[in-house]
Symmetry: C2
Subunit: 346 residues, 2 copies
């Protein structure tokens, strides 16, 4: 067994209360020479306080649970770096897990977190299944949803202003003279982020008096390939778009690849606006015009907020915090050419 506070107390010739006070109390709560003796013994024995015992006593673990829909998406590595930073500053640890996009896995992790007595949970919901809402609704630990939520979840949300994000892309293209603007996104599934990005696209067009055309909207299945097919289908229409807005960092490359595979040039034949401004977006060919979403800031803000809720200051329990995306103009967009897309080369 590891050395305990009792070992330290015995060796130092004091009581465990004194050791505990020296370790946790404010400066000067133990006499200076007593403290010196304790410190020496702690050092010599390599004593490491057992926070399991501490948690049992205090009822707090200084652990938060982070439940991601799917951690394999590269976007989350950056978000997590923000979560880590906020946790580290506040002295919390993060148990992170990934639901692999399945509601049942999500549920089982939720139960695990409850058993672990985490002080709070950061939730990126995996699905819009009703069971999800039901299971989470009557929780007592603080929960903050991150990046997206779904109807009925009574938690605070920290997310991007998704509607503004796609709107920025559309308005940029409108300003360049584009009127037929395609939209490639994930298939809507009841989760807020997808719905909002679609709405931002549609509203921006409507506000500009541009006629909506459902044919210009394509939904891809999750993953790294269907976005290519959907974009190809979009480009193969009778009246194809002169510009495309991608609604996700994973789709950016798929849209670009499809345009090129079709033998078209970006931006000369088709302008492309990406999403998220991943670190590699400036390195693409051409450097991608993108809606920048501060991924690290998202993680940081969400963790910060959760920790505040845990520590008792809940200014706006179920309110939303929306981070503001910004358009970064690079070289994948240009003024609309007359004449539209040429037929594919044979």
């Amino acid at each position: 067994m590891a050395t305990t506070i009792e070992d330290v107390a015995r060796e130092a010739g004091v009581s465990i209360a004194t050791v505990s006070r020296y370790l946790n109390g404010p400066d000067g709560i133990v006499a200076e020479d007593t403290g010196d003796r304790v410190r020496a013994v702690v050092e010599r024995l390599g004593y490491v306080p057992n926070s399991v015992a501490r948690s049992l006593k205090t009822g707090r673990t200084r652990l938060i649970g982070v439940l991601l829909a799917n951690i394999a998406h590269p976007y989350w590595s950056v978000v997590l770096s923000g979560v880590e930073e906020a946790c580290q500053r506040a002295g919390y640890g993060a148990i992170v897990s990934s639901a692999a996009d399945r509601a049942d896995v999500e549920n089982s992790y939720l139960r695990a977190f409850l058993r672990q007595r985490v002080d709070g949970i950061l939730l990126n919901p995996a699905t819009a299944a009703p069971s999800t809402v039901e299971a989470w609704a009557r929780l007592t630990v603080p929960v903050v949803t991150i990046d997206r939520t779904l109807p009925g979840l009574p938690f605070g949300l920290v997310a991007m202003d998704n509607a503004l994000g796609t709107r920025l892309g559309v308005e940029h293209l409108l300003g360049l003279g584009h009127r037929r603007i395609g939209f490639v996104s994930w298939r809507p599934d009841g989760l807020s982020n997808r719905e909002e990005r679609l709405a931002g696209y549609q509203d921006a067009l409507a506000d500009a008096g541009v006629e909506a055309d459902g044919e210009l909207i394509r939904f891809a299945a999750d993953g790294w390939s269907d976005g290519v097919d959907q974009t190809l289908a979009l480009l193969a229409e009778r009246d194809p778009p002169s510009a495309i807005v991608s609604a996700s960092s994973m789709l950016n490359l798929q849209v670009l690849a499809a345009v090129k595979r079709r033998g078209l040039r970006v931006p000369d034949d088709v302008s492309v606006v990406g999403y998220d401004d991943s670190p590699w977006d400036p390195l693409l060919d051409p450097p991608l015009t993108t809606v920048a979403t501060p991924a690290k800031g998202l993680g940081w803000a969400a963790a910060e907020r959760l920790i505040r809720a845990i520590e008792g200051d809940h200014p706006d329990d179920a309110g939303e915090v929306r981070l503001v995306p910004e358009l970064v103009v690079r070289h994948s967009t240009s003024a609309r050419r007359r004449g539209g897309i040429l037929p594919p080369s044979p």
Copy 2:
């Protein structure tokens, strides 16, 4: 306070020992009707066992610490998905943290893990600082290093066969007739993965009897931009390479971007072999020939091994497990053209 085992016992009219047995013991350790009563009460009260108390008693937390050098690298999101999967299967949770490439942060997380009484640690060392080795060397918890290690760390390692990885790239290019093959990697820092990838490149050339030329080796500073500059410098040499091997997924795009910025075509003017086969590599322009490294498998194998060590079967405590990379040939490499690189267009 949450409901405890005592509440359940009282409501069910049994002792807490019986409740505990019903919950943890093998089937049939309590009489069927007793069990039914307990189950009903557990359900009604929404009792969730407190694993903090359980851990205090048993001395095991079923938690592992995952200490990454820098989680912000997108590669790790995929690795972590493998770690998660292994943990989930075995009923463990993973506290993940990121050292932001700093030895002091790494050390403070190590202490935090020790306080938390994690059952084991998965370590991706941040630096080759001597303090690192010293701090870790006399640990008692099981530790498995992942992806890389450094001299003096007495732990098992689960990593790619890095030398084979770059060798595969070089041999592929040699087979295509290339002789002047450039190498763009991270600046060596004493960590095994970087050293090994360099050695693999050098050995493959030596084995083929190709003269080594230090000018063909360029080291980039961490991040998303210096790799571009280093590649540009490489291409600006008097006798530039006809092919380049990139030693990291983060450098793939930087190398590609630099070649294009120089006005050269891939693979017609310069062949490029990438590293890691990220999910987006097939979508690049041109689709990247890459050394595929099973990132998810890496995470899975490392976590699996750590869990085995925790549970007491340590077949090969400090040995290495090397995952085998494979070359995926796409369209960024081609036979060497005669005449070499043209001068840059004005």
